[in-house]
């Protein structure tokens, strides 16, 4: 009995210390999965000409198409490649979230069910025996925890170069997408400048130039704010991944420090996802 109690306490302490490490990685991976699985910005860019030439209640004339059919075809192909990169990163972070989930190695429920079943079969199987049995089954979670920790660390270290490459690629593409959407925003004001050319009345000119054009440009502001946050979040995910990989190699203390610093990065990643959803859904 005495030994079993010691085992139970030991198991409890070991499982607590082991699980605490991966909580931040799980939150980081979950936030990164959410961000990388969102492809709204790519889709918005792909549909640039459609959005640009949507009906405008203020002015009838259209800004015109910025892409020839051949260019649009290439844009579609580029978007589908970007979707693949998003999907690969999302699959990776989803696997990392799954492995870092606290309930993965826990055998508490199994210990509970087994001891209840045995008690039903044998009435002599009393409370002290049940407690001891649960503790023994619970001990199984220690090697499982070690196994999954090893798998998490191996995954992060082995994929750091690929994560870095794909996120850098998304960052560079997002820079270009941002500039292209700014060009779209500029082109969206073209009908107003054409209208200005036909108007001499200073009052109407003021209304068109100071109000209508400003409003048209302001319509794009949430989109650009979202893209800025999205780019920053991509860079956060990349930097954090690198730091985790490096601190794993450096030792437990550095890993602990890195994991405690992840909180700010996670908040920024979540905020970026919200901004993209708000601007584009």
């Amino acid at each position: 009995m005495k030994y079993l109690k010691i085992f139970a306490v030991l198991y409890w302490i070991l499982s607590l210390t082991a699980c605490a490490n991966l909580g931040s990685i799980r939150d980081y991976a979950k936030a990164s999965d959410d961000l990388t699985s969102g492809t709204e910005i790519v889709t918005r860019w792909k549909n640039s000409d459609i959005e640009l030439n949507k009906d405008n209640p203020i002015i009838d004339s259209k800004p015109g198409l910025r892409r020839s059919p051949a260019t649009q075809q290439k844009a579609d192909a580029a978007a589908s490649e970007l979707y693949k990169v998003h999907d690969a990163l999302a699959q990776y972070f989803s696997a990392l979230t799954l492995l870092a989930a606290d309930d993965i190695p826990s055998t508490q429920k199994q210990g509970e069910n087994l001891s209840n079943a045995i008690k039903d079969l044998d009435p002599k199987f009393g409370d002290p025996e049940q407690k001891a049995f649960k503790a023994i089954v619970g001990l199984l979670s220690i090697p499982l925890e070690a196994y999954r920790q090893k798998a998490v660390i191996k995954l992060i270290k082995s994929q750091d170069d690929n994560v870095d490459k794909l996120l850098s690629l998304l960052e560079r593409s997002s820079d270009i997408i941002e500039k292209d959407l700014k060009a779209e925003s500029n082109q969206s004001t073209a009908p107003y400048y054409t209208l200005l050319g036909d108007v001499k009345d200073p009052g109407i000119r003021f209304l068109v130039s100071e109000r209508m054009i400003s409003i048209q440009s302001a319509n794009y502001q949430p989109l650009f704010t979202a893209i800025t946050k999205y780019k920053k979040a991509l860079s956060n995910i990349r930097d954090s991944h690198k730091k985790i990989g490096e601190s794993v190699a450096s030792g437990k203390d550095e890993l602990k420090q890195t994991l405690s610093e992840l909180k700010v990065a996670i908040e920024q990643i979540i905020a970026a996802r919200k901004a993209v959803k708000a601007a584009l859904n």
Binding site: S48, L65, R67, S68, T71, K74, A75, A77, A78, E81, L82, K84, V85, A88, L89, Y92, S94, A95, L96, L98, L99, I104, P105, T107, Q110, N113, L114, N116, A117, I118, D120, L121, V137, L140, L144, Y147, R148, A151, V152, L155, S158, Q159, N162, K165, L166, L169, R172, S173, I176, I177, K179, A183, N186, Q187, Y193, T194, L196, G197, V199, K200
Partner: protein
């Protein structure tokens, strides 16, 4: 196209957009003949089309270098999921053991209600373990 060429191409696209924006002064000036303003409007769109074409090419080129990493990272994610599955398999064996014992306990009690309810838990576990 090299990275250098890519940078130059992006710069050219920026310059073209800037030129297009500068034409707004001309397009919006009523003192300029309508025909000239229309030509400027057309020119503005052409400049922006050229810039858009360069940027699409630049994205295609940028994303083209990621195919190998994409495959590798998906393979690694699959392996990680397999590890999680292995852990779950072990837990499933314990679930099966618990359900088996519970079912035999119900059989020995000869309580039909208990037998049926434990069978409901036991059967799906046998099915998934097969």
């Amino acid at each position: 196209m090299s990275m250098d060429d890519l940078q130059k191409s992006n710069q050219t696209a920026d310059d073209l957009d800037e030129q297009a924006t500068r034409l707004n002064i001309y397009i919006s000036d009523p003192s300029i003949a309508k025909q000239d303003r229309e030509s400027a409007t057309q020119r503005q769109l052409e400049l922006r089309q050229h810039a858009a074409d360069l940027r699409v090419e630049a994205i295609l080129l940028t994303v083209g270098g990621g195919a190998l990493s994409t495959d590798q990272i998906i393979a690694a994610a699959d392996k990680a999921k397999a590890v999680a599955n292995k852990i779950n398999e072990i837990k499933k064996s314990l679930d099966l053991a618990a359900a088996t014992i519970a079912f035999f306990a119900a059989l020995s009690s000869k309580d039909i209600g208990k037998i049926l309810s434990t069978w409901d838990t036991f059967k799906p576990l046998i099915d998934t373990n097969n």
